[in-house]
Amino acid sequence: MRRAGLVLAAMMMCAGCDAAPPHVAAQRFGFGRPATAAEIRALDIGIMPDGTGLPAGSATAADGAPVYAAKCVACHGASGEGTPVAPRLVGRIPRDAFPFAQSLALQDTKTIGNYWPYATTIFDYVRRAMPQNHPGSLTDHEVYALTAWLLWKNDIVKADAVIDARTLPAVQMPARHRFVRDDREASTRVR
Protein backbone atom coordinates (compact mmCIF):
# COMPACT_ATOMS: atom_id res chain seq x y z
CA MET A 1 0.00 0.00 0.00
CA ARG A 2 2.78 2.36 0.98
CA ARG A 3 4.67 1.33 -2.14
CA ALA A 4 1.69 2.02 -4.40
CA GLY A 5 1.36 5.47 -2.87
CA LEU A 6 4.99 6.24 -3.59
CA VAL A 7 4.66 5.16 -7.20
CA LEU A 8 1.54 7.26 -7.62
CA ALA A 9 3.41 10.25 -6.24
CA ALA A 10 6.26 9.58 -8.64
CA MET A 11 3.82 9.39 -11.52
CA MET A 12 2.26 12.70 -10.56
CA MET A 13 5.65 14.35 -10.23
CA CYS A 14 6.56 13.03 -13.61
CA ALA A 15 3.38 14.39 -15.12
CA GLY A 16 4.76 17.82 -14.36
CA CYS A 17 8.04 17.30 -16.13
CA ASP A 18 7.10 15.49 -19.33
CA ALA A 19 4.88 16.63 -22.14
CA ALA A 20 1.57 15.32 -20.80
CA PRO A 21 -0.24 18.06 -18.84
CA PRO A 22 -1.85 17.01 -15.51
CA HIS A 23 -5.39 16.74 -16.90
CA VAL A 24 -4.15 14.16 -19.42
CA ALA A 25 -1.83 12.22 -17.13
CA ALA A 26 -4.63 10.38 -15.34
CA GLN A 27 -6.10 9.08 -18.60
CA ARG A 28 -4.96 6.64 -21.23
CA PHE A 29 -4.28 7.56 -24.82
CA GLY A 30 -5.40 4.23 -26.21
CA PHE A 31 -2.41 3.98 -28.59
CA GLY A 32 -0.96 0.56 -29.43
CA ARG A 33 -2.86 -2.72 -29.47
CA PRO A 34 -3.08 -5.62 -27.02
CA ALA A 35 -0.22 -8.12 -27.37
CA THR A 36 -1.35 -11.68 -28.03
CA ALA A 37 0.00 -14.57 -26.02
CA ALA A 38 1.68 -15.90 -29.17
CA GLU A 39 3.41 -12.60 -29.83
CA ILE A 40 4.77 -12.51 -26.30
CA ARG A 41 5.88 -16.16 -26.48
CA ALA A 42 7.77 -15.51 -29.73
CA LEU A 43 9.94 -12.80 -28.18
CA ASP A 44 10.05 -13.68 -24.48
CA ILE A 45 13.55 -15.18 -24.38
CA GLY A 46 14.90 -13.64 -21.17
CA ILE A 47 16.10 -16.03 -18.45
CA MET A 48 16.15 -14.95 -14.81
CA PRO A 49 18.51 -16.22 -12.08
CA ASP A 50 15.64 -18.19 -10.48
CA GLY A 51 15.16 -20.06 -13.76
CA THR A 52 12.11 -18.14 -14.94
CA GLY A 53 12.02 -18.46 -18.72
CA LEU A 54 14.05 -21.66 -19.00
CA PRO A 55 12.48 -24.04 -21.54
CA ALA A 56 11.87 -27.77 -21.29
CA GLY A 57 14.76 -30.09 -22.07
CA SER A 58 18.01 -31.23 -20.52
CA ALA A 59 21.55 -32.16 -21.49
CA THR A 60 24.97 -33.13 -20.14
CA ALA A 61 28.52 -32.07 -20.93
CA ALA A 62 28.87 -35.12 -23.18
CA ASP A 63 26.02 -33.74 -25.29
CA GLY A 64 27.78 -30.38 -25.44
CA ALA A 65 31.22 -31.50 -26.59
CA PRO A 66 30.26 -32.15 -30.24
CA VAL A 67 28.15 -28.98 -30.39
CA TYR A 68 31.07 -26.94 -29.07
CA ALA A 69 33.46 -28.59 -31.52
CA ALA A 70 31.16 -27.86 -34.44
CA LYS A 71 29.95 -24.36 -33.65
CA CYS A 72 32.18 -22.62 -31.10
CA VAL A 73 35.72 -23.86 -31.48
CA ALA A 74 36.62 -21.60 -34.41
CA CYS A 75 36.39 -18.45 -32.31
CA HIS A 76 36.77 -19.63 -28.69
CA GLY A 77 39.52 -22.24 -29.22
CA ALA A 78 39.60 -25.99 -28.73
CA SER A 79 39.02 -25.89 -24.96
CA GLY A 80 37.44 -22.48 -24.46
CA GLU A 81 40.80 -20.80 -24.00
CA GLY A 82 39.82 -17.90 -26.29
CA THR A 83 41.41 -16.44 -29.42
CA PRO A 84 42.13 -12.90 -30.57
CA VAL A 85 38.53 -12.66 -31.88
CA ALA A 86 36.61 -14.13 -28.93
CA PRO A 87 37.03 -14.16 -25.16
CA ARG A 88 38.36 -16.95 -22.98
CA LEU A 89 35.48 -18.94 -21.50
CA VAL A 90 37.22 -21.52 -19.34
CA GLY A 91 39.57 -21.24 -16.37
CA ARG A 92 39.66 -21.07 -12.60
CA ILE A 93 42.10 -19.16 -10.46
CA PRO A 94 43.61 -21.17 -7.58
CA ARG A 95 41.49 -20.93 -4.41
CA ASP A 96 39.03 -18.80 -6.40
CA ALA A 97 41.04 -15.67 -5.74
CA PHE A 98 39.67 -12.55 -7.37
CA PRO A 99 42.76 -10.63 -8.53
CA PHE A 100 41.19 -8.66 -11.37
CA ALA A 101 41.58 -5.24 -9.74
CA GLN A 102 45.33 -5.72 -9.63
CA SER A 103 45.98 -5.10 -13.32
CA LEU A 104 44.14 -4.14 -16.49
CA ALA A 105 46.03 -7.00 -18.15
CA LEU A 106 43.82 -9.43 -16.21
CA GLN A 107 40.66 -8.35 -18.05
CA ASP A 108 41.15 -11.13 -20.57
CA THR A 109 41.26 -13.75 -17.81
CA LYS A 110 37.68 -13.22 -16.64
CA THR A 111 36.03 -16.56 -17.39
CA ILE A 112 32.70 -18.16 -16.70
CA GLY A 113 34.36 -20.10 -13.89
CA ASN A 114 36.09 -17.26 -12.13
CA TYR A 115 33.86 -14.26 -12.87
CA TRP A 116 30.31 -15.01 -14.06
CA PRO A 117 27.97 -14.77 -11.03
CA TYR A 118 24.94 -16.66 -12.42
CA ALA A 119 24.81 -19.91 -14.38
CA THR A 120 21.49 -18.92 -15.98
CA THR A 121 23.32 -16.13 -17.83
CA ILE A 122 25.15 -18.73 -19.92
CA PHE A 123 21.90 -20.15 -21.27
CA ASP A 124 20.41 -16.70 -21.85
CA TYR A 125 23.42 -15.33 -23.70
CA VAL A 126 24.30 -18.38 -25.79
CA ARG A 127 20.73 -18.71 -26.97
CA ARG A 128 20.24 -15.04 -27.82
CA ALA A 129 23.56 -14.21 -29.43
CA MET A 130 25.67 -17.24 -30.33
CA PRO A 131 27.26 -18.41 -32.53
CA GLN A 132 28.28 -15.07 -33.92
CA ASN A 133 28.02 -16.17 -37.56
CA HIS A 134 24.54 -17.68 -37.06
CA PRO A 135 23.06 -15.90 -34.04
CA GLY A 136 19.91 -17.37 -32.60
CA SER A 137 20.29 -20.62 -34.56
CA LEU A 138 20.85 -23.06 -31.68
CA THR A 139 18.08 -25.36 -30.46
CA ASP A 140 17.19 -25.31 -26.78
CA HIS A 141 18.80 -28.74 -26.46
CA GLU A 142 22.04 -27.46 -27.99
CA VAL A 143 22.01 -24.51 -25.59
CA TYR A 144 21.49 -26.78 -22.58
CA ALA A 145 24.29 -29.00 -23.91
CA LEU A 146 26.74 -26.12 -24.34
CA THR A 147 25.79 -24.76 -20.91
CA ALA A 148 26.54 -28.14 -19.34
CA TRP A 149 29.85 -28.43 -21.21
CA LEU A 150 30.96 -24.92 -20.20
CA LEU A 151 30.07 -25.53 -16.55
CA TRP A 152 31.93 -28.85 -16.60
CA LYS A 153 35.02 -27.40 -18.30
CA ASN A 154 35.10 -24.74 -15.59
CA ASP A 155 35.01 -27.42 -12.84
CA ILE A 156 31.65 -26.20 -11.59
CA VAL A 157 29.55 -29.31 -12.28
CA LYS A 158 30.46 -32.97 -12.74
CA ALA A 159 30.82 -34.49 -16.20
CA ASP A 160 27.54 -36.38 -15.89
CA ALA A 161 25.50 -33.54 -14.37
CA VAL A 162 22.13 -33.14 -16.05
CA ILE A 163 21.42 -29.47 -16.74
CA ASP A 164 17.77 -28.49 -17.03
CA ALA A 165 15.31 -25.83 -15.88
CA ARG A 166 15.47 -27.14 -12.31
CA THR A 167 19.21 -27.79 -11.91
CA LEU A 168 20.66 -24.79 -13.75
CA PRO A 169 19.37 -22.09 -11.35
CA ALA A 170 20.70 -24.19 -8.43
CA VAL A 171 24.29 -24.18 -9.75
CA GLN A 172 26.50 -22.20 -7.34
CA MET A 173 28.92 -19.99 -9.26
CA PRO A 174 32.28 -19.37 -7.55
CA ALA A 175 32.20 -15.58 -7.97
CA ARG A 176 28.55 -15.10 -6.99
CA HIS A 177 29.33 -13.57 -3.58
CA ARG A 178 31.72 -11.03 -5.11
CA PHE A 179 29.06 -8.95 -6.82
CA VAL A 180 27.77 -5.80 -5.11
CA ARG A 181 25.52 -2.95 -6.20
CA ASP A 182 26.99 0.35 -7.33
CA ASP A 183 27.22 2.87 -4.48
CA ARG A 184 29.04 5.73 -6.21
CA GLU A 185 26.13 8.17 -6.11
CA ALA A 186 25.81 7.90 -2.33
CA SER A 187 28.89 10.09 -2.04
CA THR A 188 30.79 12.82 -3.86
CA ARG A 189 34.02 10.98 -3.12
CA VAL A 190 35.81 8.98 -5.78
CA ARG A 191 34.64 5.38 -5.56
Binding site: A4, V7, L8, A10, M11, M13, C14, C17, D18, A19, A20, A25, R28, F29, F31, G32, R33, P34, A35, E39, I40, L43, D44, I45, G46, M48, P49, F98, F100, A101, Q102, S103, L104, A105, L106, Q107, K110, Y115, W116, P117, Y118, T120, T121, D124, Y125, R128, A129, Q132, P135, G136, R178, F179, V180, R181, D182, R184, E185, T188, V190, R191
Partner: protein, 409 residues
Protein backbone atom coordinates in the same frame (compact mmCIF):
# COMPACT_ATOMS: atom_id res chain seq x y z
CA UNK B 1 12.64 22.34 -67.34
CA UNK B 2 12.47 19.86 -64.54
CA UNK B 3 14.77 17.56 -66.48
CA UNK B 4 17.41 20.21 -67.02
CA UNK B 5 17.34 21.18 -63.33
CA UNK B 6 17.74 17.56 -62.38
CA UNK B 7 20.67 17.24 -64.74
CA UNK B 8 22.34 20.28 -63.23
CA UNK B 9 21.73 18.93 -59.77
CA UNK B 10 23.17 15.58 -60.77
CA UNK B 11 26.19 17.25 -62.36
CA UNK B 12 26.70 19.27 -59.21
CA UNK B 13 26.60 16.14 -57.09
CA UNK B 14 29.08 14.37 -59.33
CA UNK B 15 31.45 17.33 -59.06
CA UNK B 16 30.99 17.50 -55.31
CA UNK B 17 31.67 13.79 -55.11
CA UNK B 18 34.85 14.12 -57.11
CA UNK B 19 36.18 16.99 -55.02
CA UNK B 20 35.09 15.21 -51.87
CA UNK B 21 37.19 12.22 -52.83
CA UNK B 22 40.18 14.48 -53.37
CA UNK B 23 39.62 16.14 -50.04
CA UNK B 24 39.48 12.78 -48.31
CA UNK B 25 42.81 11.90 -49.82
CA UNK B 26 44.29 15.18 -48.69
CA UNK B 27 42.91 15.19 -45.14
CA UNK B 28 42.57 11.48 -44.55
CA UNK B 29 45.14 11.15 -41.78
CA UNK B 30 46.32 13.71 -39.28
CA UNK B 31 49.93 12.66 -39.66
CA UNK B 32 49.95 13.24 -43.43
CA UNK B 33 51.19 16.52 -44.87
CA UNK B 34 48.34 18.81 -45.86
CA UNK B 35 50.00 19.88 -49.12
CA UNK B 36 48.90 18.29 -52.34
CA UNK B 37 45.53 17.95 -54.03
CA UNK B 38 42.98 20.51 -52.87
CA UNK B 39 39.42 21.00 -54.14
CA UNK B 40 39.24 23.17 -57.25
CA UNK B 41 37.71 26.59 -56.57
CA UNK B 42 37.67 29.69 -58.77
CA UNK B 43 40.31 32.32 -58.04
CA UNK B 44 37.54 34.86 -57.36
CA UNK B 45 34.13 33.31 -56.54
CA UNK B 46 32.44 36.69 -57.09
CA UNK B 47 33.27 36.64 -60.79
CA UNK B 48 31.65 33.35 -61.81
CA UNK B 49 28.11 32.03 -61.23
CA UNK B 50 27.91 29.86 -58.16
CA UNK B 51 26.82 26.25 -57.91
CA UNK B 52 23.23 24.99 -57.99
CA UNK B 53 20.90 24.13 -55.15
CA UNK B 54 20.97 20.55 -53.94
CA UNK B 55 18.59 18.13 -52.29
CA UNK B 56 21.07 17.43 -49.51
CA UNK B 57 23.57 19.92 -48.13
CA UNK B 58 27.01 18.37 -48.29
CA UNK B 59 29.98 19.48 -46.23
CA UNK B 60 32.47 21.81 -47.88
CA UNK B 61 34.99 19.81 -49.84
CA UNK B 62 37.59 21.41 -47.60
CA UNK B 63 36.06 19.81 -44.48
CA UNK B 64 36.26 16.10 -43.82
CA UNK B 65 35.67 15.25 -40.17
CA UNK B 66 35.44 11.50 -39.80
CA UNK B 67 34.92 8.86 -37.16
CA UNK B 68 37.83 6.49 -36.69
CA UNK B 69 36.93 2.84 -36.95
CA UNK B 70 37.46 -0.14 -34.71
CA UNK B 71 36.00 -3.63 -35.04
CA UNK B 72 32.86 -2.93 -33.02
CA UNK B 73 33.10 0.80 -32.43
CA UNK B 74 33.82 4.15 -34.02
CA UNK B 75 34.86 7.35 -32.31
CA UNK B 76 33.72 10.96 -32.67
CA UNK B 77 36.32 13.52 -33.84
CA UNK B 78 35.95 15.69 -30.71
CA UNK B 79 38.78 17.99 -31.79
CA UNK B 80 37.06 18.87 -35.08
CA UNK B 81 33.75 19.97 -33.55
CA UNK B 82 32.43 23.23 -32.12
CA UNK B 83 29.68 23.96 -29.63
CA UNK B 84 28.09 20.95 -27.98
CA UNK B 85 25.97 19.02 -30.50
CA UNK B 86 27.55 16.13 -32.39
CA UNK B 87 26.52 15.99 -36.07
CA UNK B 88 24.50 12.79 -36.47
CA UNK B 89 26.90 11.21 -38.93
CA UNK B 90 29.76 11.71 -36.47
CA UNK B 91 28.05 10.25 -33.37
CA UNK B 92 30.17 7.48 -31.93
CA UNK B 93 29.12 3.85 -32.40
CA UNK B 94 29.45 0.76 -30.25
CA UNK B 95 27.75 -2.38 -31.50
CA UNK B 96 27.60 -5.91 -30.12
CA UNK B 97 26.14 -7.59 -33.18
CA UNK B 98 26.53 -5.10 -36.00
CA UNK B 99 23.97 -2.59 -37.29
CA UNK B 100 20.64 -4.33 -38.05
CA UNK B 101 18.49 -3.39 -41.00
CA UNK B 102 14.96 -2.66 -39.75
CA UNK B 103 11.91 -1.70 -41.81
CA UNK B 104 10.09 1.06 -39.89
CA UNK B 105 6.75 -0.14 -41.25
CA UNK B 106 7.30 -3.56 -39.69
CA UNK B 107 8.96 -2.32 -36.51
CA UNK B 108 7.15 -3.02 -33.24
CA UNK B 109 7.90 -2.54 -29.55
CA UNK B 110 6.40 -5.13 -27.20
CA UNK B 111 5.87 -4.07 -23.56
CA UNK B 112 4.84 -6.88 -21.25
CA UNK B 113 5.58 -8.66 -17.97
CA UNK B 114 4.30 -7.02 -14.77
CA UNK B 115 1.81 -4.76 -16.53
CA UNK B 116 -1.98 -4.57 -16.69
CA UNK B 117 -2.10 -4.45 -20.48
CA UNK B 118 0.68 -6.14 -22.50
CA UNK B 119 0.86 -3.95 -25.58
CA UNK B 120 2.45 -3.80 -29.03
CA UNK B 121 3.35 -0.34 -30.28
CA UNK B 122 4.20 0.51 -33.86
CA UNK B 123 6.57 3.36 -34.66
CA UNK B 124 3.54 5.45 -35.61
CA UNK B 125 2.00 4.65 -32.21
CA UNK B 126 5.14 5.88 -30.43
CA UNK B 127 5.07 9.11 -32.43
CA UNK B 128 1.42 9.80 -31.49
CA UNK B 129 2.26 10.14 -27.80
CA UNK B 130 3.14 13.58 -26.43
CA UNK B 131 6.79 14.08 -27.35
CA UNK B 132 9.72 15.56 -25.52
CA UNK B 133 12.94 16.96 -26.95
CA UNK B 134 16.02 17.03 -24.77
CA UNK B 135 19.73 17.44 -25.29
CA UNK B 136 21.94 14.86 -23.59
CA UNK B 137 25.36 13.33 -23.99
CA UNK B 138 25.72 9.62 -24.56
CA UNK B 139 28.99 7.97 -23.58
CA UNK B 140 30.30 4.43 -23.66
CA UNK B 141 31.53 3.62 -20.15
CA UNK B 142 34.65 2.05 -21.67
CA UNK B 143 35.83 5.42 -22.97
CA UNK B 144 39.40 5.92 -21.86
CA UNK B 145 42.80 4.77 -23.10
CA UNK B 146 45.08 4.03 -20.13
CA UNK B 147 48.81 4.56 -20.74
CA UNK B 148 48.08 6.61 -23.86
CA UNK B 149 51.10 7.89 -25.80
CA UNK B 150 51.83 11.59 -26.31
CA UNK B 151 50.75 11.43 -29.95
CA UNK B 152 47.08 10.76 -29.30
CA UNK B 153 44.09 12.90 -30.25
CA UNK B 154 41.00 13.53 -28.10
CA UNK B 155 39.10 11.35 -30.58
CA UNK B 156 41.45 8.41 -30.04
CA UNK B 157 41.66 8.97 -26.28
CA UNK B 158 37.95 9.28 -25.47
CA UNK B 159 35.90 9.74 -28.66
CA UNK B 160 33.09 7.46 -27.53
CA UNK B 161 31.07 10.37 -26.19
CA UNK B 162 28.67 12.39 -28.32
CA UNK B 163 25.78 14.76 -27.79
CA UNK B 164 22.41 14.85 -29.47
CA UNK B 165 19.11 16.68 -29.35
CA UNK B 166 16.88 13.64 -28.86
CA UNK B 167 13.14 13.53 -29.47
CA UNK B 168 10.88 10.75 -28.28
CA UNK B 169 8.21 9.66 -25.84
CA UNK B 170 8.93 9.61 -22.09
CA UNK B 171 9.04 6.03 -20.88
CA UNK B 172 6.82 7.16 -17.98
CA UNK B 173 4.08 7.96 -20.49
CA UNK B 174 4.29 4.44 -21.90
CA UNK B 175 4.40 2.84 -18.46
CA UNK B 176 1.25 4.71 -17.42
CA UNK B 177 -0.40 3.69 -20.67
CA UNK B 178 0.18 -0.02 -20.16
CA UNK B 179 -0.45 0.05 -16.42
CA UNK B 180 2.93 -0.77 -14.91
CA UNK B 181 2.55 -2.90 -11.77
CA UNK B 182 3.75 -0.87 -8.76
CA UNK B 183 5.58 -4.00 -7.60
CA UNK B 184 7.74 -4.01 -10.76
CA UNK B 185 11.18 -2.68 -9.86
CA UNK B 186 13.24 -3.63 -12.93
CA UNK B 187 12.64 -3.90 -16.64
CA UNK B 188 14.52 -5.72 -19.34
CA UNK B 189 15.30 -3.63 -22.44
CA UNK B 190 16.10 -5.73 -25.46
CA UNK B 191 17.35 -4.80 -28.93
CA UNK B 192 16.57 -6.25 -32.34
CA UNK B 193 20.23 -6.63 -33.32
CA UNK B 194 22.12 -9.89 -33.87
CA UNK B 195 23.26 -9.82 -30.23
CA UNK B 196 19.64 -9.25 -29.08
CA UNK B 197 21.41 -7.05 -26.57
CA UNK B 198 19.60 -6.89 -23.25
CA UNK B 199 20.03 -4.89 -20.06
CA UNK B 200 18.07 -4.74 -16.81
CA UNK B 201 17.11 -1.20 -15.82
CA UNK B 202 15.51 0.02 -12.57
CA UNK B 203 11.91 1.11 -13.13
CA UNK B 204 12.70 4.27 -11.15
CA UNK B 205 14.67 5.53 -14.14
CA UNK B 206 11.50 5.33 -16.22
CA UNK B 207 9.65 7.57 -13.75
CA UNK B 208 12.66 9.91 -13.72
CA UNK B 209 13.84 10.86 -17.21
CA UNK B 210 14.07 7.81 -19.51
CA UNK B 211 12.65 8.11 -23.00
CA UNK B 212 12.19 6.09 -26.13
CA UNK B 213 13.90 8.22 -28.75
CA UNK B 214 13.05 8.12 -32.43
CA UNK B 215 14.72 11.32 -33.58
CA UNK B 216 18.27 12.63 -33.45
CA UNK B 217 19.07 16.27 -34.16
CA UNK B 218 15.76 16.93 -35.86
CA UNK B 219 15.46 13.84 -38.05
CA UNK B 220 15.02 10.10 -37.69
CA UNK B 221 17.72 8.24 -35.78
CA UNK B 222 20.65 7.05 -37.83
CA UNK B 223 20.70 3.23 -38.23
CA UNK B 224 23.94 3.00 -36.26
CA UNK B 225 22.33 4.93 -33.41
CA UNK B 226 19.25 2.76 -33.06
CA UNK B 227 16.85 3.34 -35.97
CA UNK B 228 13.94 3.41 -35.76
CA UNK B 229 13.70 3.66 -31.94
CA UNK B 230 16.01 3.26 -28.97
CA UNK B 231 16.05 3.58 -25.22
CA UNK B 232 17.63 6.76 -23.91
CA UNK B 233 18.67 6.89 -20.25
CA UNK B 234 20.15 10.36 -19.71
CA UNK B 235 23.49 10.28 -17.91
CA UNK B 236 23.81 6.47 -17.88
CA UNK B 237 26.47 4.38 -19.58
CA UNK B 238 25.88 3.93 -23.31
CA UNK B 239 25.38 0.17 -23.15
CA UNK B 240 22.16 0.56 -21.15
CA UNK B 241 20.67 2.87 -23.81
CA UNK B 242 19.51 -0.14 -25.82
CA UNK B 243 19.30 0.55 -29.55
CA UNK B 244 16.77 -0.95 -31.99
CA UNK B 245 14.49 -1.49 -28.98
CA UNK B 246 12.07 -4.34 -29.65
CA UNK B 247 10.94 -5.47 -26.20
CA UNK B 248 10.52 -4.21 -22.64
CA UNK B 249 9.63 -6.69 -19.89
CA UNK B 250 8.77 -5.45 -16.42
CA UNK B 251 9.86 -7.68 -13.54
CA UNK B 252 10.64 -7.66 -9.84
CA UNK B 253 14.32 -8.61 -10.19
CA UNK B 254 17.14 -7.93 -12.66
CA UNK B 255 17.69 -10.59 -15.32
CA UNK B 256 21.49 -10.73 -14.86
CA UNK B 257 22.27 -10.66 -18.57
CA UNK B 258 25.80 -11.18 -19.86
CA UNK B 259 26.30 -7.44 -20.37
CA UNK B 260 25.51 -6.65 -16.71
CA UNK B 261 27.52 -9.49 -15.15
CA UNK B 262 30.56 -10.61 -17.13
CA UNK B 263 30.86 -7.19 -18.83
CA UNK B 264 30.16 -3.62 -17.68
CA UNK B 265 31.09 -4.45 -14.08
CA UNK B 266 34.21 -3.30 -12.22
CA UNK B 267 36.35 -5.59 -10.12
CA UNK B 268 37.52 -3.48 -7.17
CA UNK B 269 40.58 -3.80 -4.95
CA UNK B 270 38.43 -4.88 -2.00
CA UNK B 271 37.66 -8.13 -3.81
CA UNK B 272 34.16 -7.19 -4.95
CA UNK B 273 32.79 -6.55 -8.43
CA UNK B 274 30.63 -3.46 -8.79
CA UNK B 275 27.46 -4.13 -10.73
CA UNK B 276 24.76 -1.92 -12.27
CA UNK B 277 27.22 0.97 -12.31
CA UNK B 278 24.99 3.08 -14.50
CA UNK B 279 25.88 6.71 -13.94
CA UNK B 280 28.69 8.44 -15.84
CA UNK B 281 30.88 10.36 -13.41
CA UNK B 282 31.83 13.97 -14.14
CA UNK B 283 34.55 14.46 -16.66
CA UNK B 284 36.21 17.03 -18.91
CA UNK B 285 38.75 17.21 -21.68
CA UNK B 286 40.42 20.08 -23.50
CA UNK B 287 39.63 19.42 -27.16
CA UNK B 288 41.61 22.36 -28.58
CA UNK B 289 44.43 22.89 -28.87
CA UNK B 290 45.47 19.26 -28.91
CA UNK B 291 47.80 16.88 -30.69
CA UNK B 292 48.69 17.21 -33.60
CA UNK B 293 48.00 20.97 -33.68
CA UNK B 294 50.77 23.54 -33.46
CA UNK B 295 50.41 26.70 -31.40
CA UNK B 296 52.17 30.04 -31.32
CA UNK B 297 53.05 32.25 -28.37
CA UNK B 298 50.36 34.79 -27.54
CA UNK B 299 46.68 34.42 -26.78
CA UNK B 300 45.30 30.89 -26.85
CA UNK B 301 41.70 30.02 -26.09
CA UNK B 302 41.62 26.54 -24.59
CA UNK B 303 38.32 24.92 -25.47
CA UNK B 304 36.87 21.73 -24.16
CA UNK B 305 33.88 19.69 -23.12
CA UNK B 306 32.69 18.79 -19.62
CA UNK B 307 29.80 16.53 -18.67
CA UNK B 308 28.31 14.57 -15.80
CA UNK B 309 25.69 11.84 -15.63
CA UNK B 310 24.63 13.10 -12.21
CA UNK B 311 23.36 16.48 -13.38
CA UNK B 312 24.70 19.83 -14.50
CA UNK B 313 28.33 20.83 -14.67
CA UNK B 314 28.91 23.40 -11.91
CA UNK B 315 32.44 24.53 -12.71
CA UNK B 316 35.43 23.66 -14.84
CA UNK B 317 38.87 24.66 -13.65
CA UNK B 318 41.93 24.90 -15.86
CA UNK B 319 45.52 24.67 -14.70
CA UNK B 320 48.42 25.92 -16.82
CA UNK B 321 51.03 24.64 -14.34
CA UNK B 322 50.11 20.95 -14.27
CA UNK B 323 47.77 21.21 -11.30
CA UNK B 324 49.75 23.50 -8.95
CA UNK B 325 47.12 26.26 -9.32
CA UNK B 326 43.66 26.29 -10.90
CA UNK B 327 41.63 29.03 -12.59
CA UNK B 328 37.93 29.08 -13.38
CA UNK B 329 36.97 28.50 -17.01
CA UNK B 330 33.95 30.11 -18.68
CA UNK B 331 30.98 27.82 -19.30
CA UNK B 332 28.90 28.34 -22.41
CA UNK B 333 25.25 28.74 -21.43
CA UNK B 334 22.70 27.30 -21.16
CA UNK B 335 24.35 24.65 -19.01
CA UNK B 336 22.01 21.67 -19.43
CA UNK B 337 21.67 18.67 -17.17
CA UNK B 338 23.49 15.46 -18.19
CA UNK B 339 24.85 17.28 -21.20
CA UNK B 340 28.13 18.16 -22.83
CA UNK B 341 28.98 21.67 -21.68
CA UNK B 342 31.46 23.77 -23.62
CA UNK B 343 34.12 25.53 -21.56
CA UNK B 344 36.71 28.09 -22.59
CA UNK B 345 39.79 29.49 -20.93
CA UNK B 346 41.80 32.31 -22.45
CA UNK B 347 45.50 32.37 -21.66
CA UNK B 348 48.52 34.27 -22.95
CA UNK B 349 51.26 31.74 -23.61
CA UNK B 350 54.84 33.00 -23.27
CA UNK B 351 56.29 30.17 -25.39
CA UNK B 352 57.86 28.24 -22.52
CA UNK B 353 56.89 24.63 -21.97
CA UNK B 354 53.58 24.44 -20.13
CA UNK B 355 51.18 21.67 -19.15
CA UNK B 356 47.48 22.49 -19.28
CA UNK B 357 44.84 20.43 -17.45
CA UNK B 358 41.07 20.65 -17.02
CA UNK B 359 38.96 19.49 -14.06
CA UNK B 360 35.16 19.32 -13.94
CA UNK B 361 32.93 19.62 -10.87
CA UNK B 362 29.23 18.82 -11.13
CA UNK B 363 26.27 20.24 -9.24
CA UNK B 364 26.37 17.40 -6.69
CA UNK B 365 29.89 18.46 -5.69
CA UNK B 366 31.62 15.49 -7.32
CA UNK B 367 35.07 16.51 -8.58
CA UNK B 368 36.79 14.82 -11.53
CA UNK B 369 39.62 12.72 -10.05
CA UNK B 370 43.24 12.27 -11.00
CA UNK B 371 44.55 8.97 -12.33
CA UNK B 372 46.14 8.37 -8.94
CA UNK B 373 42.90 9.00 -7.06
CA UNK B 374 41.04 6.57 -9.33
CA UNK B 375 43.67 3.86 -8.95
CA UNK B 376 43.84 4.35 -5.18
CA UNK B 377 40.06 4.14 -4.82
CA UNK B 378 39.51 1.11 -7.05
CA UNK B 379 42.79 -0.65 -7.77
CA UNK B 380 44.86 -0.47 -10.95
CA UNK B 381 42.88 -3.17 -12.73
CA UNK B 382 39.43 -1.73 -12.02
CA UNK B 383 38.65 -1.05 -15.63
CA UNK B 384 38.06 -0.62 -18.42
CA UNK B 385 34.78 0.99 -17.40
CA UNK B 386 34.07 4.38 -15.82
CA UNK B 387 37.59 5.79 -16.08
CA UNK B 388 37.26 9.58 -16.05
CA UNK B 389 40.62 11.01 -14.98
CA UNK B 390 41.92 14.55 -15.37
CA UNK B 391 43.94 14.79 -18.58
CA UNK B 392 45.85 17.52 -20.36
CA UNK B 393 48.33 18.68 -22.97
CA UNK B 394 51.93 19.81 -22.97
CA UNK B 395 52.74 22.90 -25.04
CA UNK B 396 56.32 22.51 -26.26
CA UNK B 397 58.56 25.52 -27.00
CA UNK B 398 58.57 24.57 -30.69
CA UNK B 399 54.76 24.83 -30.75
CA UNK B 400 53.92 21.14 -30.69
CA UNK B 401 51.00 20.07 -28.52
CA UNK B 402 51.46 16.63 -26.98
CA UNK B 403 49.21 14.57 -24.73
CA UNK B 404 50.37 14.62 -21.13
CA UNK B 405 51.32 10.98 -20.65
CA UNK B 406 50.76 9.43 -17.26
CA UNK B 407 51.38 5.82 -16.29
CA UNK B 408 48.10 4.18 -15.27
CA UNK B 409 49.52 2.37 -12.28
Amino acid sequence: MTTSLSRRSLLGRLLAGATGALATMAFGRHDMPLQGAMPAVPPDPTKVPGGPTSVLGARSAFESPERILFATASKTPLQDLHGTVTPSDLHYERHHGGVPGIDPERYTLLVHGMVERPTVFTLADLKRFPAVTRTHFLECSGNFTPNAPENITPQELCGMTSQTEWTGVPLATLFREIGADPAATWFLAEGEDAAVLARSIPVSKAWDDAMIAYAQNGEALRPCNGYPARLLLPGWEGNTNVKWLRRIELASEPFMTREETSKYTEALKNGTARQFSFVIDARSIITNPCYPERVQPGWIEFRGLAWSGRGRIATVDVSVDEGATWQRATLETPVQTKAHTRFRYLWRWDGREATVLSRATDETGYVQPTVRELVEARGPGAGPYHLNPITGWRLKPDGRVLFRTEPWA
